[in-house]
């Protein structure tokens, strides 16, 4: 099953590209001209994203490098220990919705320090794999269409991240604990 899905992931893009091209040629679409006219839109979209991403990255880096993140982890440690959540995994859970590369760095660090097959290693892997960078997704998607009033979208994203973390703890402790 795993091998099959991995192969599917590897083949997905080449097959998709060929299928689109063959089908378009069959439909007599001038493929190269169409490609160029569509691709032009990519530049404007990306440039529009830059202010959003620069702003967010600065805030995240300041929060982490100042030691504020460590402080928050320390403050919450007693509560977490009481409910059986390893405090070592807290920075990951807090940063996962905010930065993909940052949380990946933390996951790698946890795996290196506690071992990939430890409870903490497996929990970190599961949390990293089962949620996405909510703030980044929000920044990129809403930034691309210049929507500024995002209503309840952030709350939905953060709440589902929280549920993802809780679900990860439950299932990992059930199977591997």
């Amino acid at each position: 099953m795993y091998a099959l899905v991995t192969q599917l992931s590897i083949w997905a893009i080449p097959v998709l590209l060929s299928y689109v091209l063959v089908y378009a040629l069959y439909k007599r679409v001038p493929v190269y001209d169409t490609f160029v006219s569509g691709a032009k839109g990519g530049f404007g979209t990306t440039i529009r994203l830059m202010p959003h991403l620069v702003g967010m990255m600065v805030a995240i880096t300041v929060f982490r490098e100042s030691g504020a993140l460590d402080l928050l982890t320390q403050a919450l440690r007693p509560v977490l220990n009481a409910i059986g959540f390893p405090a070592e995994v807290l920075p990951l859970s807090l940063l996962r919705p905010v930065t993909g590369t940052g949380s990946l760095a933390i996951t790698t660090d946890l795996i290196a320090r506690y071992g990939p097959d430890s409870y903490i290693g497996r929990l970190a892997s599961t949390i990293q794999g089962s949620t996405d960078t909510t703030l980044y997704v929000l920044t990129v998607y809403f930034g691309a269409v210049a929507v500024t009033r995002t209503k309840y979208a952030l709350k939905v994203g953060l709440l589902s991240d929280l549920i993802g973390v809780i679900a990860s703890v439950c299932i990992v402790s059930l199977i591997f604990g």
């Binding site: 620069v54 600065v58 030691g67 599961t126 996405d132 997704v137 209503k151 939905v156 679900a167």
Partner: protein, 194 residues
């Protein structure tokens, strides 16, 4: 809410750095963070340009409309406000499929195209529509079949069975996605009652 989170992260960071006597760390973080922002954007540039070109071909060939029709019941249940056979459905489906296979790089342009289609239906371009929020909910909880990056890291650190977290990850991501859809629905209902 984004406004408060953003300003809060910076202000709390500065205050903590002042107390810790690490004000120079803030100076460094500002430059590093801004640089990362630009690097990430340029990383997106190449991917966005290529995939938006490819998607234009798919659109002109009529593939997106075909996909939209195929998707039918599920998408219409998730996005009741989008008119039937609207091209947005095609982009949304491609976005969901790419996420499922862990092709994050290809999923983003498709999601952005879907957003741009949804924006055309938006009576107030500054405010998010319910359909936009649903698309966001699906993407932030991103159902993934195989977390390839994580497996690669576990392999690097000599795990006995690097892929043994696939099962638990699937369960966790499924629960998170269902939760995202339900929470989104709940907020939609609250909005309508106002």
């Amino acid at each position: 809410m984004v406004n408060y989170i953003w300003a809060g992260m910076i202000l709390i960071g500065v205050a903590v750095a002042f107390v810790n006597g690490k004000v120079d760390a803030v100076n460094k973080a500002v430059f590093e963070g801004a640089k990362t922002g630009v690097t990430v954007t340029f990383g997106l540039l190449s991917i966005l340009i290529f995939w938006m070109g490819m998607m234009k071909i798919a659109e002109e060939a009529g593939l997106l409309n075909k996909m939209a029709r195929l998707l039918g019941p599920l998408a219409r249940w998730l996005f009741p406000t989008i008119p039937k056979d609207h091209p947005a459905f095609g982009y949304i489906l491609s976005n969901m499929t790419a996420n499922l296979f862990g092709l994050g790089n290809a999923a983003t342009p498709m999601g952005i195209k879907a957003m741009q289609e949804l924006q055309k239906l938006n009576p107030d371009p500054k405010t998010a529509t319910p359909a936009m929020c649903t698309l966001l909910a699906l993407n932030t909880s991103s159902m993934t079949l195989i977390p390839t990056t994580i497996i690669a890291i576990r392999m690097n650190y000599n795990s006995a069975n690097p892929a043994d977290i696939v099962g638990v990850t699937l369960v966790a991501t499924f629960i998170a996605t269902c939760a995202a859809i339900m929470i989104d629905r709940w907020y939609q209902r609250l909005e309508r009652r106002r």
